[in-house]
C-alpha cells in the first residue's frame, strides 16, 4: 500500500505544526519520521490515520483520499502501535491483541489462533502470557504486545509512534532487531516516529528528517548520512555520521578467507597452513571456532592444543549478520586488527581486518 501526502498542513491557532508537507511512501518501505521534539513528526503520523485532521492538503492511501473514508474504517486497515501505555489495562494480553479482529467480526476460533500466532511471532509463550494483564508485564513485554496488537488483523500499513520508547537501551535494541526480522518477512508499509537516530538508522529504508514542521531531507539513511542536505541535518545526524553509516552496512562483503586448522592437526602441517599469516584460527571437526594460535608459539610447541588461546565464539568472533559498526567497535574495544567471523552455527567463515573496515568508512566520505 502506497501512502502519499500532498501539501499537508496542520495549524493550531497561529502555530504551524506541519507546514505543507509532501511525502511519498512506497509499499513495503519502512519510513522513519525523525526530528527534534515539536518538529511535527507525531502530528504527521496522526494525520495519516485521521486521529488528527489536516488543516489543508490531502493524504492518499493507495490512491484513495483518506478524507473520503470513514475514520474507523481507515484505522482498521492500519495497525497502530504507541508506547506501552496504550494497552488496555482492563483486558488480558490475548484480549488486547483480539481487539481489532473482534471489531472486524472474525470468528472466535480464528481470533484465538491468530492471537497465539502473534504471541509466538513477537517471541512470547502464548501459554504463559495470554491470560496476563498489562500491569503484570515488563516494559519490553508490553511493547511487544503493542506491536502484536497492531499486527493482529494483518493490516497492510503499520503506524508506530515511538514503539520502543519506554524501555532500557538493551531491551530496545533487542526489540528493534526483532522488529526488523519480522518486517523482513511481512513487508508491511511502515511509518515509524522516533527521536532516536540510532533506531532510525537501524530500521529505516527511508529516513524523513523534519524540522519545524517541514521535511528537510527524505532519502535512504546511507544517503542522508553520506550527504546531509543542510546544516540542520548535518548537526542532527552528528559529527559521527561516518560511524553511524557503518551501522547500515553488513560485514558480509568484507569477509576474507582466513587460514584455519582443526585442533588435532600435527604441528608441522599447521605451520604450513599459516601461509605467511601471523595467526591461525583453530576449529573443531565440525568447523566450529575454538580459538587461535600464534605462529611463533606454534613453532616451538608439541601440539596445536598446547599453545591455543581458547575462547567462546560469541566473545572472540563476530556473527556474519553483524554490521561494520559492531565490527569496528569490537576491534577497537579489544585492541585487535583481525576478528574471526562465524555463521549461526558458530562455524568459522573467515575474518575481517581493521584496514578493510577503515577503507569502507572513508569510501562514502568524498
Amino acid at each position: 500500500m502506497m501512502i502519499r501526502l500532498e501539501q499537508v498542513t496542520k495549524r493550531y491557532g497561529d502555530k504551524v505544526a506541519v507546514d505543507s508537507l509532501s511525502l511519498q511512501i512506497e509499499a513495503g518501505e519502512v519510513c522513519v519520521l525523525i526530528g527534534p521534539s515539536g518538529c511535527g513528526k507525531t502530528t504527521t503520523l496522526r494525520m495519516i490515520n485521521r486521529l488528527t485532521e489536516p488543516t489543508s492538503g490531502h493524504i492518499y492511501v493507495d490512491g484513495r483520499d483518506t478524507a473520503t473514508v470513514r475514520p474507523e474504517e481507515l484505522r482498521l486497515s492500519m495497525g497502530y502501535a504507541i508506547q506501552s501505555v496504550g494497552l488496555f489495562p482492563h483486558l488480558t494480553v490475548a484480549q488486547n491483541i483480539a481487539v481489532v479482529p473482534q471489531l472486524k467480526h472474525w470468528p472466535k476460533a480464528r481470533i484465538a489462533a491468530r492471537t497465539e500466532e502473534l504471541l509466538r511471532l513477537v517471541g512470547l509463550d502464548p501459554a504463559a502470557y495470554s491470560a496476563k494483564y498489562p500491569r503484570q508485564l515488563s516494559g519490553g513485554e508490553a511493547q511487544r504486545i503493542g506491536v502484536a496488537r497492531a499486527l493482529a488483523a494483518d493490516p497492510p500499513i503499520l503506524l508506530m509512534d515511538e514503539p520502543f520508547g519506554a524501555v532500557d537501551p538493551l531491551t530496545r535494541e533487542r526489540l528493534q532487531r526483532q522488529f526488523a526480522r519480522i518486517q523482513q518477512s511481512l513487508r508491511k508499509t511502515v511509518i515509524l516516529v522516533t527521536h532516536d537516530l540510532d533506531e532510525a538508522i537501524r530500521l529505516a529504508s527511508r529516513l524523513a528528517i523534519m524540522e519545524a514542521g517541514r521535511l528537510v531531507q527524505y532519502d535512504r539513511p546511507e544517503a542522508v548520512l553520506a550527504s546531509p542536505a543542510n546544516r540542520f541535518v548535518r548537526s542532527f545526524v552528528g559529527a559521527d555520521r561516518a560511524l553511524k553509516r557503518l551501522a547500515r552496512i553488513g560485514i558480509k562483503e568484507f569477509i576474507k578467507k582466513a587460514p584455519s586448522v582443526p585442533v588435532d592437526t600435527p604441528v608441522a602441517e599447521a605451520l604450513r597452513a599459516t601461509g605467511g599469516y601471523r595467526w591461525l584460527w583453530v576449529v573443531d571437526r565440525q568447523g566450529r571456532l575454538l580459538g587461535w594460535v600464534d605462529r611463533d608459539l606454534l613453532a616451538i610447541a608439541g601440539s596445536v592444543r598446547e599453545v591455543m588461546d581458547e575462547g567462546e565464539p560469541e566473545e572472540i568472533a563476530l556473527s556474519e549478520a553483524a554490521t561494520l559498526r559492531e565490527a569496528l567497535s569490537r576491534m577497537l574495544g579489544q585492541g585487535i586488527k583481525y576478528i574471526p567471523v562465524v555463521d549461526s552455527e558458530e562455524r568459522l567463515i573467515g575474518e575481517l581486518s581493521l584496514r578493510d573496515v577503515e577503507a569502507a568508512t572513508t569510501e562514502g566520505e568524498s
Binding site: 490515520n49 486521529l51 475514520p71 474507523e72 474504517e73 481507515l74 484505522r75 482498521l76 497502530y80 504507541i82 508506547q83 501505555v85 496504550g86 494497552l87 488496555f88 489495562p89 482492563h90 483486558l91 481487539v99 481489532v100 471489531l103 496476563k132 494483564y133 500491569r135 503484570q136 496488537r149 497492531a150 503506524l159
Partner: protein
C-alpha cells in the same frame, strides 16, 4: 480468587444473621425490655421490624435504581462531545440537589405529589444524584488519554470505545459513587416516615411522638445494621471487580 470466595461467604453469613436478628421479634422484646425498663411497650406495635426493613429497602431500592438509571447516563453524556457544554450546568445542578435538605424537598413535594412513596422517592433521588453523577464524570475522565487514543487509533468508534474501554475502566470509580449514594439514601430514607412513606423511620417518628426511646432505637439500630451490610456488599462487588483485572 480464593480471598474473594471467603469474602462472599462471610457476607452471605452476615446477611443471614441480619435477617435472623430482624425476624426474631422475641429477641428484640427481651433485650429492649431489659434495657428500656421505663417503658411498658418497647417495640413499635403497628409493624414488625421485618416489615419496616422491607419497606425501607423498597424505598432505597426504588430511589437508588432511578438515581443510577439517570445519574450514570447523565454523567456519561456530559463527557461526550455533544454534552460537554452542559458539564458545568449538570455538576452545579446536582450539587444544589444535595445542598437542598431532603426535608425541605418533602415539604415542597407534598403539595404537588401528595403524601407517601412518590415524594419521598423524588427527594431521595435528588439527594443521591450528586455522588453518582460526579463519580461517573470523574471515572470517565480518569481514563488515560493514551489508552483512549489507542482505542480510537486501532479503529474503535465512539460507542465501542465507550462500552469496551471507558466504562470498564471507569467502573470502580462509578461503583464507589453508587455505594456512597445508596448509603446516604439508607440514612435519608428515614425522613420518608414523616409523610407516610413507611420504612424504619416510622418507628423513630412514633418514638419521638410518644416519647418512647425504645421505638427510636429500634428503627435506628435496624437502619444502621442495614447500612453497614449494604456498604459491605457493594464494597465486595467493587474489590472483586478490581481484582478480576489483575489488581491487588
Amino acid at each position: 480468587m480464593r480471598r474473594d470466595h471467603v469474602r462472599w461467604i462471610v457476607l452471605a453469613a452476615a446477611v443471614a444473621l441480619f435477617i435472623a436478628v430482624i425476624v426474631n421479634t422475641a429477641w428484640w422484646q427481651t433485650v429492649f425490655g431489659a434495657v428500656f425498663t421505663a417503658h411498658t411497650e418497647v417495640l413499635y406495635p403497628r409493624a414488625t421490624p421485618l416489615v419496616l426493613v422491607w419497606e425501607h429497602v423498597q424505598l432505597v431500592g426504588i430511589s437508588s435504581a432511578i438515581t443510577i438509571a439517570i445519574g450514570i447516563p447523565l454523567g456519561v453524556w456530559v463527557t461526550r462531545p455533544s454534552g460537554r457544554p452542559f458539564l458545568q450546568l449538570v455538576t452545579d445542578v446536582t450539587s444544589i440537589g444535595q445542598t437542598f435538605p431532603p426535608v425541605a424537598v418533602l415539604a415542597l413535594a407534598v403539595p404537588a405529589l401528595g403524601f407517601g412513596l412518590v415524594p419521598t422517592v423524588v427527594a431521595l433521588f435528588l439527594y443521591g444524584l450528586l455522588p453518582v453523577v460526579r463519580n461517573t464524570i470523574a471515572g470517565i475522565r480518569s481514563v488515560p488519554v493514551d489508552v483512549l487514543d489507542a482505542a480510537y487509533g486501532v479503529g474503535m468508534g465512539r460507542w465501542p470505545a465507550l462500552w469496551r474501554v471507558e466504562l470498564p475502566l471507569a467502573a470502580p470509580v462509578i461503583l464507589a459513587g453508587v455505594r456512597i449514594s445508596v448509603i446516604i439514601n439508607i440514612g435519608t430514607a428515614m425522613i420518608g416516615a414523616v409523610i407516610g412513606a413507611g420504612g424504619l423511620g416510622t418507628a423513630v417518628v412514633a418514638g419521638l411522638v410518644r416519647d418512647n426511646v425504645a421505638f427510636v432505637f429500634e428503627g435506628a439500630l435496624a437502619a444502621a445494621l442495614l447500612a453497614v451490610l449494604v456498604d459491605q456488599l457493594l464494597h465486595t462487588v467493587e474489590t472483586s471487580l478490581n481484582r478480576a483485572r489483575g489488581g491487588g
